[in-house]
């Protein structure tokens, strides 16, 4: 789940072992679990709680989620990535063999509490999918601005790629020129994805200028000609 300020994620281990999710399941499958509901509710606005799981050998700050009398969850805020993780869920019953707190400590000792390599691989995959989806929506919006504007328009595609677009129309022929700012975009695959989002089967050609100016040293540009619809 992605929220405006941060992302809320559940580790695979917690999802399967603690919440009873299936290997290929999604968070929606366990959305009614009391700790998941508490997680989505409490960590939407706060990255921390009021109490931590103590005596963890990793030294990680695991904040306790409390739901009803016995349901407990553990969350970890990964500041660098702006992600709050639900890392464990269980029941609290002092003295019980499967009490949540010693359970968390054992997971931590076994290095199974923190997000795993698999969790980070999933993040990368999700980020790529989100970027691809954003490119598909941002590109036509920028193209529309260029069509309605007078001359060149600049914008960001995918939230980070600097792109300038100019559209010239003459005798039912439309030429669209696109200049990429290579300071923000190094991967040629992103360029290809953006050009495809502008004109999927377009015959894009390299160009050494935009309609009204030469290229800057940090730019690479392409143009495409088509018939005005």
């Amino acid at each position: 789940m992605v929220l405006p300020d941060r992302e809320l994620r559940v580790t695979r281990r917690c999802f399967i072992e603690d919440l009873g999710g299936k290997k290929d399941g999604t968070l929606e499958d366990v959305a009614k679990h009391p700790i998941v509901r508490a997680f989505l509710r409490e960590r939407e606005t706060k990255t921390a709680g009021t109490r931590q799981v103590g005596q963890l050998s990793s030294g990680k700050e695991i904040w306790v989620l409390t739901q009803a009398q016995r349901n407990r969850g553990g969350t970890w805020y990964e500041a660098q990535r702006e992600i709050v993780w639900l890392v464990a869920a269980g029941h609290h019953e002092s003295g019980s063999q499967d009490d949540f707190f010693p359970y968390c400590r054992q997971l931590d000792k076994d290095r199974r509490l923190a997000p795993s390599t698999e969790d980070y691989k999933e993040i990368l995959l999700a980020q790529k999918e989100r970027l691809a989806a954003r490119i598909l929506i941002d590109a036509p919006l920028l193209r529309k601005r260029a069509r309605g504007g007078d001359g060149e328009v600049s914008g960001q595609i995918g939230g980070k790629f600097g792109v300038k677009v100019a559209i010239e129309v003459a005798d039912e022929i439309e030429e669209i020129s696109v200049a990429f700012d290579l300071r923000t975009l190094q991967d040629p695959r992103s360029m290809i994805a953006i050009l495809a989002a502008l004109e999927a089967d377009g015959d894009w050609e390299d160009t050494d200028k935009m309609p009204t100016r030469p290229l800057e040293h940090y730019e690479q540009a392409f143009s495409h000609m088509g018939i005005v619809e």
Partner: protein, 86 residues
């Protein structure tokens, strides 16, 4: 039309194309919109496909036209239901 409304419609249209491509081996020829939505959206082309007004398409819906189109495989889906802010 607010940009948020436009973005939601673009997402719905894109989903329609992807669904069509999953079900039909023939590539889309055009995206058909009700003339009112066509005017409101103001995108003559999307992702390389022409966008065309078609009065037979209900408002807030889009239809993906392809050579293999028939009633059964034509992708018709509801566009975002909310009204655009004035």
């Amino acid at each position: 039309m607010t940009q948020q409304f436009e973005i939601k419609n673009l997402i719905e249209i894109r989903v329609g194309i992807d669904r069509h491509n999953e079900r039909c081996p023939v590539p889309p020829e055009a995206i058909l919109l009700n003339p009112l939505d066509f005017k409101l959206m103001d995108h003559p082309r999307l992702w390389g496909f022409p966008v065309l007004p078609d009065p037979s398409v209900p408002t807030k819906r889009c239809r993906i036209q392809c050579e293999g189109s028939s009633e059964e495989i034509e992708a018709e889906l509801e566009m975002y239901e909310a009204e655009a802010d004035p």
